[in-house]
Subunit: 381 residues, 2 copies
Amino acid sequence: MRAVAAIGIGQTKVDEHWDKSLKELAGDAIFAAVQDCGIDHIDGVYVGNMLSASANRQQNLGAYITDWIGAKNVGALRLESACSSGSAAFRAAFLAVASGEVDIALAVGVEKMTDSPSGEITASLATAASADWEADQGLSFVALNALLMQRYIYETSWKHRDFANFSINAHANAMHNPYARFHMPLTEEKFVNAAMICDPINLMDSSPIGDGAAAIILVPAERVSGKIIRVVGSAAATDTIAVHDRKHPTWLSAAERSSKTAYAQAGISPQDIDFFEYHDAFTIMAALSLEACGFAERGKGPQLALDGAIRLDGALPVATMGGLKARGHPVGATGMYQLVEVIEQLRGTAGENQLDKAHIGMAQNIGGSGSNIITHILRND
Amino acid sequence: MRAVAAIGIGQTKVDEHWDKSLKELAGDAIFAAVQDCGIDHIDGVYVGNMLSASANRQQNLGAYITDWIGAKNVGALRLESACSSGSAAFRAAFLAVASGEVDIALAVGVEKMTDSPSGEITASLATAASADWEADQGLSFVALNALLMQRYIYETSWKHRDFANFSINAHANAMHNPYARFHMPLTEEKFVNAAMICDPINLMDSSPIGDGAAAIILVPAERVSGKIIRVVGSAAATDTIAVHDRKHPTWLSAAERSSKTAYAQAGISPQDIDFFEYHDAFTIMAALSLEACGFAERGKGPQLALDGAIRLDGALPVATMGGLKARGHPVGATGMYQLVEVIEQLRGTAGENQLDKAHIGMAQNIGGSGSNIITHILRND
């Protein structure tokens, strides 16, 4: 397959965009990406979205968004894999270019969640879990993650307070990201005293929902001259849809599998990753991701937060623009935000948050309670 | 890209399957397809579905179905483009094999519609149209098609009765298809006297919804010995999401575009197509498809039905196993049913409905009111 380069990026602020429709949000991100790279047409459109059927009463987003941006008559698809829908769209666009099917692919993730009553959104988010064994029994997504965190704390003897730095780091990094939903520093005291949501997960363990869109333009690498951002790893893996069906519920086997495949594609090992945009929907997911991807030993994920290794000046910076926790988690768009942020770092345009060493970046997007995980590795040359 | 062959097919009867869940339906089709070709593993799963978020409160179908069939840890995706979701899944599977990304791809379309109140299904189907300009104004899908049919009759001076043979042919062909929802012959008298749904569309212009699943296994053609069914054309195109935004509402430009691309890929012209599994959700769509794909002159589609050209013994057999009209239209699965039926004909296993000449078959799947159209051409060698 052909080498693929990311040449254009665009994003909207994650926020409550009551004045913008779903297509306007997507369009804002797309037009920014198009302007960023100056292309004059698009050959294929790949849309990541999870909730529009219920939250916006609009499906068929491939045609809907392609129509809105005036790219009539190109092929267009919507990809859905719950909260990893964004990177599913990126992966489809990547494969379309890599295979030679299209020359200029547009991937966009979009989600508009804040127009709907929160109870409806909670119920819709639960469609990512097993309807039969989880959602219909009353388990919301935060409840599933709370069970995982309870189990993890029981198995490892970490305390809830030990997860504080995951959120503190995310909030610190979001301070300088104009597209982040939150611009407020977090302290350990605020973290431990935050309102309880579902024991042991409190408000400061949890990422906020939001409206937003992020877009990336991909082309064959051979068409790019000068500095180039390459997609060197792209892999997806699944696990059981219901958490209780897993032999080891606190091990994200699909994260392990997809990251190992991506490392092999890129010809690298975890030690070569300069920074990691992980899927910190809840602090427990941050810890589990670090372990499954080979950055921490099993049961030792929180140590990286306690040590400060995850900070911008640490050995493995994570959530460098705020992560899901503080940039926000517009679910079907999140994977695209992560990838846009990786590209900002690789370009050296991450502003106040720019890393000194940003040569190889990884983004990992988790759908369901770890049931559909997609990992990408990008490199600048 | 590599040549791709279809080696396994499976389908369930289109029916009211109140005793089967969404995953059981999908599993039945998948296990039939696996048994059909005797593979021992799957490398990638591509699921076409439109309505599960609302009708089944289950999304994340890539992981959900992959888990159910025991193919843990492979990459899996759900594709959605309204009523063309089925062939979107097939196209994704085809591209995955063609590109070399996977060696054994499973495409499955599944929809379970009959557990929900029909008003809910009608509202959910309307999410394929423009929420802003069509659905939220009260236009259901049948209403949109009725407006198109009114306009077409006004432009062409055909009478409603002239569309009868589209439905009569479909019902005749379904008589010998055990997987079809309807096994009842239709006469012109029954057609013209059927209950009015939305003038001029009556019950016998309309395809029935249903529950069902259909699956196909794709592999590189080089791995197949002996008789082989190749995918020689695969193309998608979009049009405006709202019908009123089209300069010529009665011309399916995305059907024209995607079929022309597919003809070019296959190195053929419309005259080389031996049979056509078209998207006869309503009789008006049958006529418009024949015209846009080059089988009839503009405004002359119904002539092919009046002449009998569309029958099994005609010049261009269509809906050879009953079409959407009589096999049934489980929306997100329909595209996969069409392709399974093409493969049955190309294999020579279409039973009583077997065509004498079935060397090149075409399937076309329409999402929205023509907003997202996907065309495939398959050939036996």
